[in-house]
């Protein structure tokens, strides 16, 4: 699925928006999320998942190709944690008891 298909979903399911407006709104959703995460804020979308930021310390790593040791600098990374609702949507037969982590 690409952004164009999400635009199509907004256009055809909601009604009242032109294709251009639908495209602008979908862009706005992702642009707003990007700017928010880019300010160091996490995002919680109930029913879908959380986009969380983690600060990683500097650490020693290796170049997987050559095996040479390299220093991995400290950095902030983005992780997505899927909500239980999304996980269950992908695993329809799963019972609630398997949802504990």
């Amino acid at each position: 699925m690409t952004k164009a298909e999400i635009v199509q979903a907004v256009y055809s399911r909601l009604g009242g928006f032109s294709k251009k407006e639908s495209a602008d709104l979908v862009d706005l959703v992702f642009e707003t999320m990007k700017e928010t995460l880019g300010r160091g804020e996490k995002i919680k979308i109930s029913g879908f998942g959380n986009f969380v930021l983690r600060d990683k310390r500097q650490r020693q790593g290796r170049n997987p190709q050559t095996g040479d040791p390299i220093l991995i600098t400290e950095r902030r990374v983005l992780n997505f944690k899927a909500s239980q609702i999304l996980k269950q949507a992908l695993n329809p037969r799963e019972t609630a008891s398997a949802a504990e982590e």
Binding site: I6, T32, G40, K42, G47, R76, A89
Partner: protein
């Protein structure tokens, strides 16, 4: 970085007197955006009613969920991509009792951050993030860069 110098995208909602759900300071110091705050931001920036903005935001995430249900990946350029990863069944253990527990095969969504967003996030290190995501390195992420 120009994006970071913009004012808070949902300051529209703050200015209109909506009480904020989070506990942090206004605007810049906020640490978490919820779905309803994203909806407020879309309503303000897109100049549409909150009810319409809510329909849009829900439609976006519904469409994405449905794609993942079809086992279809999602690629949003500049943001990232979602894929569905299959996991084999395995025998786990109840950590309290030590009893073996069968864990069924499952499909889980996986997000890979896009290059542009990755750089944007890393550049945000000057800003604080909330304290509940500490640096304990216990997550199961893989750290490959490509």
């Amino acid at each position: 970085m120009r994006l970071l110098d913009r004012r808070s995208p949902w300051s529209f909602a703050v200015e209109s007197g909506k009480p904020r759900a989070g506990g942090g300071p206004l605007g810049w110091g906020r640490w978490t955006m919820t779905k309803s705050e994203l909806i407020d931001a879309i309503a303000g920036r897109g100049e549409l009613t909150k009810a319409r903005a809510e329909l849009v935001v829900n439609c976006v995430f519904d469409a994405m969920t449905q794609a993942l249900q079809r086992n279809e990946g999602i690629e949003i350029r500049g943001f990232g991509s979602f894929t569905v990863r299959p996991y084999k069944p395995y025998s786990g253990r109840n950590p309290r009792t030590g009893q073996p527990v069968p864990v069924p095969a499952k499909r889980l969504p996986f997000f890979k951050v896009g290059k542009e967003l990755k750089e944007l996030v890393n550049a945000s290190r000057a800003y604080a993030i909330s304290g509940d995501d500490d640096d304990d390195d216990d997550d199961d992420e893989d750290t490959d860069d490509e």
